[in-house]
């Protein structure tokens, strides 16, 4: 498997750290972790994508699904420090302004 996903709980909120390659093969794992974390989270879900080497539209679709699920539950969904590969695919799919993106200090 070319993806690693770590879920960290912080005061009832969840942070998901993703590294490796997110594509048709690996995105179902990310989807599962993401939707579980959204359901459990009190208020905020942060997805750290600084170590993602590659992401395709399957990965973007997973993030969109996460955003929609979080919004529906009135929770905050944010992307932290997206890598160049993530920014590239968000830009090509014209979704770079849809997500709340923050950079780590």
């Amino acid at each position: 498997m070319s993806i690693e996903i770590q879920t960290i709980e912080q005061n009832g909120n969840y942070k998901i750290q993703v590294s490796g390659q997110v594509d048709l093969y690996t995105s179902p794992n990310l989807r599962k972790s993401l939707l579980e974390a959204i359901d459990k989270s009190k208020e905020t879900i942060t997805v750290q994508l600084s170590h993602v080497e590659y992401m395709d539209s399957s990965g973007v679709a997973t993030l969109v699904e996460g955003l929609r699920s979080a919004t529906k539950q009135k929770k905050i969904f944010q992307i932290l420090s997206p890598s160049h590969a993530v920014r590239k695919v968000l830009n090509l799919s014209r979704l770079e302004t849809v997500f709340q993106i923050t950079e780590s200090n």
Partner: protein, 147 residues
């Protein structure tokens, strides 16, 4: 134009990663910019993903054939599959649609990426009845005739 390479691989999602690596190495050897290589690798991956998801409906034991040709002006990839033929207008479906946050759908992003990654995208069914997707990128600008 002769093929530089042709590979046939199973329609299993785990094979997308080695196919991406092969295409990246090929494009690096052809001296495309890193930015353009990233775009084309992503676009080709989207085309393969579409084959697996839509032509073969997720079946993992069918076959996909990828060929690459590098001419003086154009780089061309050809992707063939024997799966379900897409609707005639599938390449134009999302062409002029602006994406608004409220109307985002998790599916259909692949075609948008595919069209933005290559200069020309076309589809036809060949004489053997196979689906053929042609992805072309202009290698360099045409130079004027030297007098």
């Amino acid at each position: 134009m002769r093929d530089d390479f042709t590979i046939t691989f199973r329609s299993h999602p785990k094979l997308l990663k080695p196919v991406r690596a092969l295409v990246r190495n090929y494009l690096e050897a052809a001296h495309f910019s890193q930015e353009k290589i990233d775009d084309m690798v992503l676009g080709l991956d989207e085309a393969c993903t579409n084959c697996i998801r839509h032509a073969y409906h997720g079946m993992r034991s069918e076959f996909i054939q990828l060929s690459a040709r590098l001419g003086t002006v154009w780089l061309e990839f050809e992707l063939q599959d024997c799966g379900t033929c897409p609707p005639k207008d599938f390449l134009n479906r999302e062409k002029s649609k602006n994406i608004e946050p409220a109307s985002i759908k998790p599916h259909g992003l692949g075609l948008i990426i595919l069209r933005r990654a290559f200069d020309e995208v076309s589809f036809h069914v060949n004489e053997d009845g196979k689906n053929c997707l042609i992805l072309r990128t202009r290698r360099k600008k045409r130079l004027g005739k030297v007098k």
